[in-house]
Symmetry: C2
């Protein structure tokens, strides 16, 4: 079932995940995209402000995106314009298991195009101790029902 | 030379990069983290709003992070609290060559900890036609000179 712009309500929440993050993938991602010692070198990381290996914040975001995509596969999503208020709240460690939830925080039609609308959703991911590790507000673009006619 | 909080001035700009983005890595990243057809399947992407294969926005961000890390290796960086106003301005296509610049837009000391301060920098990346493709404001944490004493 396609979920159009009109089907979203402010306050709607959804839960999704989960995903366990391995040391191997933390290091692999960081070696490619964020090669700082606290993300790539378990020994060197002990002497940094992270006090041990932690996932790149961009890696944590990418993992959450994967969980989100698996969850929203039937949506009328047209991608996203961007993200506001992305916060890395707590380090993600090897072996952490993440789950996530999203809440619709705003919606508004496009002023010119009758076929799309905007749905802003706050995504928050938690570790296995229910501590939030990352959050952001995604600025989604969603097809309107008019696009189906 | 270490670059402390005190060494940053609002308005300072720096340029860095470059990096050419291959079709292979666009698909590899997306298959792991953002498996939507317009990021993973060249044929299927033609019938989407992207009109062809485009990098995941999170992949573009990660590529910019890599360029940034290579550039800031001598900084007193203590990581970042997060990112504001991340915008995916234009699709990144296979073969695009990205460059980036950052500009210090704000700085302020921590109210309690005399050893760190906050430096907010707007990062913007451009393609080979000088069109901006992504931008965000990174909320950096930087050691103060007091931390060296």
């Amino acid at each position: 079932m396609t979920r159009y712009y009109e089907d979203y309500e402010i306050g709607d929440t959804r839960e999704f995940g989960e995903r366990t993050v391995s040391k191997k993938e933390i290091i692999e991602f960081a070696e490619k995209y964020d090669p700082q010692p606290f993300h790539t070198d378990e020994e060197a990381a002990k002497d940094t402000m992270f006090n041990g290996l932690a996932a790149s914040g961009w890696h944590t975001a990418a993992i959450c995106m994967r969980m989100f995509v698996e969850h929203m596969i039937d949506d009328a999503s047209q991608g996203a314009r961007g993200v506001d208020e992305l916060r890395w709240i707590k380090p993600v460690r090897p072996g952490d298991t993440l789950t996530a939830e999203s809440e619709v925080v705003d919606k508004y039609p496009d002023e010119d195009n009758p076929y799309i609308g905007y749905v802003d959703s706050r995504l928050t991911a938690y570790n296995q101790d229910d501590e939030p590790v990352i959050s952001w507000i995604g600025l989604g673009i969603i097809k309107r029902e008019a696009a189906a006619e």
